[in-house]
C-alpha cells in the first residue's frame, strides 16, 4: 500500500533524480499488482507470460501517466487514476488481440439477419403474425432512417458484440466518434418508432415468452 499523498506523488514524479526514480519504481509495482487483479477475466494472470505482458502494459501506462500529470485533477486517489490509465492500455491491447481475426464485413453479413430472426418457441398464430409485422416494420425503419455507416455500426457493435474500440478502429474512427454515431442512430430509431406509435415496451411485450 502506498503511503504517498496525491501531492507527494505529483511532486516526486515531476522531480528529477532519485526521488523521481523511486516514485516511478513504486508506481510500477503498484500498477503491476493491480493489473494482476484487474485482468483475471481477460487472461491467465499466473505464470511468466503474464509477467512479461503486464510489464509491457505498465511501461506504456507509466509513459502515459507522466505525459498527462497535468490532467490529474485530484478528484480521486492518484493511484486510482494511474490504475485507470493502466487498465485502458491493457484492455485496448487485449481487445485488439481477441478480435484480430474478425473483420467488420464478416460480422456485418453474419449479424444482418440475427436481430430479425424468428424467436424460438411456438407463438400462437396471432402472436406470430404480430411478431412478423413488427420485424418488418423495424426493418423498414432501420433501412429508411439510418445511414449505411449507422447500420453497419448497429449491426457490428450492440448486435454483433464487437467492442466499440475495435469497431471504431476498423471503421477508421475514434471510439468517441463511434459512440456518438451509435447514439444518433439509437435516437433516430427511437423517435421514428414513437412517431409510428411503437414503444420499446410494445416490442418487448410482443417478443416476451
Amino acid at each position: 500500500m502506498s503511503t504517498r499523498t496525491n501531492e507527494e506523488w505529483l511532486a516526486a514524479l515531476r522531480a528529477t533524480g532519485p526521488d523521481r526514480d523511486a516514485a516511478l519504481a513504486e508506481l510500477r509495482d503498484v500498477l503491476l499488482v493491480g493489473l494482476r487483479r484487474g485482468l483475471v477475466d481477460w487472461v491467465k494472470t499466473s505464470g511468466p507470460e503474464f509477467s512479461a505482458l503486464a510489464e509491457d502494459f505498465v511501461q506504456e501506462a507509466l509513459l502515459k501517466v507522466l505525459d498527462s500529470l497535468d490532467s490529474f485533477e485530484g478528484r480521486s486517489k492518484f493511484t486510482t487514476w494511474a490504475h485507470k490509465v493502466a487498465v485502458r492500455v491493457a484492455l485496448s491491447e487485449l481487445r485488439r488481440k481477441r478480435w484480430q481475426d474478425r473483420s467488420l464485413e464478416a460480422l456485418v453479413s453474419a449479424e444482418n439477419r440475427a436481430p430479425f430472426a424468428v424467436p424460438d418457441g411456438r407463438p400462437s398464430p396471432e402472436r406470430a403474425t404480430l411478431q412478423a409485422d413488427l420485424i418488418a416494420q423495424v426493418q423498414r425503419i432501420i433501412h429508411e432512417e439510418l445511414t449505411d455507416k449507422q447500420r453497419t455500426a448497429m449491426l457490428v457493435v450492440p448486435i454483433g458484440g464487437m467492442p466499440l474500440e475495435v469497431a471504431a478502429e476498423q471503421m477508421g474512427m475514434n471510439r468517441n466518434a463511434l459512440y456518438k454515431l451509435l447514439h444518433d442512430a439509437r435516437k433516430r430509431l427511437k423517435q421514428r418508432l414513437e412517431e409510428e406509435g411503437l414503444t420499446s415496451d410494445d416490442i418487448l411485450d410482443a417478443f416476451s415468452r
Partner: protein
C-alpha cells in the same frame, strides 16, 4: 428484437461520451466503493457505463483492482 427494444428503452436525448466517462471513471469507482448512490450522483456517467461495453469492462477491471487490494 428484444435487444433493440432494450437499447431504445435506455436511449436518452443527451448521453456522455466515452471520453467524458473515462475522465470521471476513477472518481465514480471510488464513490461507488464507498457506498455512494452513483446512479443519482453521476447519472450521465452511470448511464454511459450501462450502455457502453468497453467502458463497462474498464470500470469493472478498475473496481476489481480497488476491491481486492489497497490502491
Amino acid at each position: 428484437m428484444t435487444l433493440l427494444a432494450h437499447m431504445m428503452a435506455v436511449t436518452q436525448e443527451s448521453e456522455c461520451t466515452c471520453e467524458e466517462a473515462y475522465s470521471l471513471m476513477d472518481q465514480y469507482v471510488e464513490l461507488k466503493l464507498q457506498g455512494a448512490e452513483v446512479a443519482s450522483l453521476m447519472p450521465l456517467i452511470h448511464a454511459h457505463f450501462e450502455m457502453c461495453g468497453c467502458c463497462r469492462d474498464e470500470l469493472e477491471a478498475l473496481q476489481r483492482i480497488l476491491t481486492e487490494g489497497e490502491a
